[in-house]
Assembly symmetry: D2
Homo-oligomer: 291 residues x 4
């Protein structure tokens, strides 16, 4: 089938390649003419036969919003827009409603896979009506990993990004779990080879996982991670996960602890710990005596 | 080689079977005569040729202590005792010192694998001197999973149980990660098939793991886990992990949150939440007005 | 001076009384004619001399929004609207902008004091321009506690509600602190009189506070809080505090833990703990053996 | 009455002064001859009439243990030893048992008050038998704050230190509560005067407390705490509180979060966050693309 693909950065470019390898036709558009197959969104739409499927793979927020707005003007009833970016699930319902006014369908799709996706396939979580999803299905089938897993119709519009967001929230806490264990092992004198302990866990243990494999890969490059700074960014989806949990009164202690650990890692000095130090000074002269 | 194995419960019994399949001779002792190959520890020791290797696989604490004490009387210099139970790492140093007075070696070994171990092998983390471990090595090789992973010489005496303890602490937090994500997905109306989302994550995602596979198995038996109570025991190793972290001033927010969630799950009613309710009553008449 | 006061529930009614005692004229409006001094908002506005100050004390969200909308139509340039309800600080900027189009000023004011306010005064945190606040100042002075503390110009529009929100977030964690300590003391056999311990802390300790006094009051009514259920509602401001912290990448581990403890207290059974139990069943047959 | 007091550092010295002001005779011993009233423990004991009360005010652990051991040799049946230091409650039972063999009584006493104690009195929490405590009561009455609060017979031997330990655990979380709120307020642009907000809370609010008063004092010296480093020591009692909670399966999320925040504040770089950074590098090339 034909697919219009908007956004040909590293992620979008690899996805185009994987879809083409599956035998589909991809017409790509990017702001950068060096990457783009066509000169404009209008030309992209004009080059696709109806009913069209246009996949948006641009940064969440403003860029996705303006792209959806423009497509609403260019597409026809029966066409379908897929948002495969990292949009917040709360944006999806608005996009779907705006497009529905023109008779255009909408599917949201969370995509996992990063640099490994071209080769291994991308995990896909999508939300929308059965009818809209049916029009995109061959593309989903091309992108997903081989085998029976790796893609899911998660629910209504928004459910795809919601599921991907929760995936990332879980990811935060699993990473934190290994990180905490690693720090504790490194802190203890009688334990002499933490890297080999991690390596041994790759088989036969309860905690074997792909992230554990990656941890071993990282330790093989830098046994004590001396070359790294203990500084961790966060991509937004961890924050949204906690916010969604608060909206639904679901306690998420481990995921939230993982998010807060990242926040703290980015502070040169902790304001709240200054206040703790200040209070200790006030009540006790802690440096010189027991309280 | 010959091995004396003390403790032939489900775990010890399966280990005996796996070691025998590898061609070794196992003489087992258990308090239950129906399970035991010999009538007493004395007979067990007498039936082994020196230097002996005796593997203790009994409950941690008192039973392990008394078994080690008895072996200290029965064994000879050059023999080695392996504690393969769930002992706290702080017990190991004491056991090693007591046995060393008699010239008897000591190795501690954390064993993971549970009901899957007989078939897939047991992950092993052991601590002790190179000389002592060399005497046990053929047994380790028989027990571990096939392939290059699954066993490790973690460090000095105590390091084996310490590594296994941290493994379990990590396990707590990974389980909590999936559990939190599952609860959040179940709480949201637009998400219509949480089980299929979990299943889809088995390939191509960052969070694929053996525990995820088990979660899918559990959901296949009981899609919304309606048959289960939200009650989780803890085996001691999670507690020890947090205590070890406190000893070393290592922050473990996610692992500790996971432990506390289990504590709370076992309370019919939360005393601390009674106090919160009491305070709210005192200051605000919260039921009837905004504060 | 004259004040128009909208919303005469228990909170608004007590505030009217305290303002009147200070010698000001309060014309109150409430949907309930039995409480109201006037028949309509229009009559309220008509009965005040310009420049008018109208204090809105109705539930946050829709009711406050519609009241502000109506006042925007009725008031004149130079008048000022005060939102003294529990509005989210993000609503304030919108209200201020809408009213500014008509030349009407806006002040947001977080009010603390509950049932104790009539007698002891209300703590006030307000945000807005100096000029707008000057018009309301006599009312603030009437409402606040005697003495030099209890009211503050916290910053620009929104800062009043923001400060009150953080006040409540802090309150959550302080309550949780006492609650945790109380549960731990109650759990230990050698401690025989927890209530008297709490009472003793009222003087000479680092942790003496008004909330501690309230805890003792509560224990005097019900020593072990047997009559209460461990169930704690939350009023929204704790949630907003955590969301604001996430927006600003500020880690709030204790306040968030306090919020999550309340969420968990309201669950009959914990879905996430069902998943933990399910996973334990899958990997270990935990009931019958050590893992 | 007469009191023997061992340990005349800043804390012990002030306590001696307060007891003397109440009209009692204090004979003090310190390793530092410049501070000491007598040349040895033996001379101290010899100068007191039976039944003697000897108050030990030396560092917890080894120094307290050796002092108790020495007193066990010097004192007579019917005498009483008070441990007023920061001992772990688990030490008390051992001390009591050792002394009981000689017919000597034992009382443990947690003391709060620090540099403010001489003037305002010390909060006291003590554990032991009614008979032993009766012998010390005049000293407790001299040390405690005036008024009806500030001292408590908390339970059996160990209960005094346990109650003081929990007091400190609660203190950690209350300090953390204010610290988190302060950091959040400082992070928001629309809030222009955080110090004045804190000051305003001193009256009329739910969160007024002595620690809040101290926070205002600290901010008056250094409005944004620029002169302080965000580095917070911990005195041991917070750690013991968490360990006691683990022993009793009591969840302490806020207190533990407060302890961990202090641990993290003392790390130049966070090992666990290095692992998070390493994992992010492995799976995503996060610097260059969305995952």
């Amino acid at each position: 089938m034909q697919l219009g693909l908007i956004g040909l950065g590293k992620m979008g470019g690899n996805m185009r390649e994987r879809i083409r390898r599956a035998g589909h036709t991809v017409i790509g558009y990017d702001r950068d003419p060096a990457l783009s197959d066509v000169a404009s969104l209008k030309e992209l739409v004009g080059s696709l036969a109806a009913p069209r499927v246009v996949w948006v793979m641009v940064p969440a927020g403003g860029p996705t919003q303006s792209t959806v707005d423009e497509l609403a003007e260019l597409l026809e009833p029966g066409d379908v827009v897929v948002d495969g970016g990292n949009s917040r699930w709360t944006d999806d319902e608005k996009h779907a409603a705006d497009l529905a006014k023109k008779g255009i369908g909408f599917v949201d799709c969370g995509v996992s896979g990063g640099v490994w996706g071209l080769q291994n396939g991308y995990a896909l979580m999508y939300g929308g009506s059965d009818a809209d999803i049916a029009k995109v299905q061959p593309i989903f089938d091309a992108l997903k990993p081989e085998g029976e897993y790796g893609s899911v119709h998660a629910g209504k519009v928004g459910a795809g990004h919601f599921a991907k967001m929760v995936h990332n929230g879980i990811e935060y806490a699993i990473m934190q779990a290994y990180a905490e264990g690693w720090e504790l092992l490194e802190a203890v004198d009688s334990v002499t080879d933490v890297r080999e302990i991690f390596r041994s866990w790759k088989e036969g243990t309860v905690i074997r996982s792909w992230l554990l494999d990656l941890a071993v890969d990282a330790l093989d490059k830098d046994e004590h991670l001396d070359k790294l700074k203990g500084y961790a960014a966060d991509s937004g989806e961890g924050r949204w996960t906690v916010e969604a949990a608060i909206d639904h009164a679901v306690p998420l202690p481990a995921i939230t602890a993982s998010l807060f650990a990242r926040f703290a890692s980015r502070q040169d000095d902790s304001p709240q710990m200054k206040m703790i130090a200040a209070l200790r000074n006030e009540f006790g002269g802690h440096a010189v005596e027991s309280k």
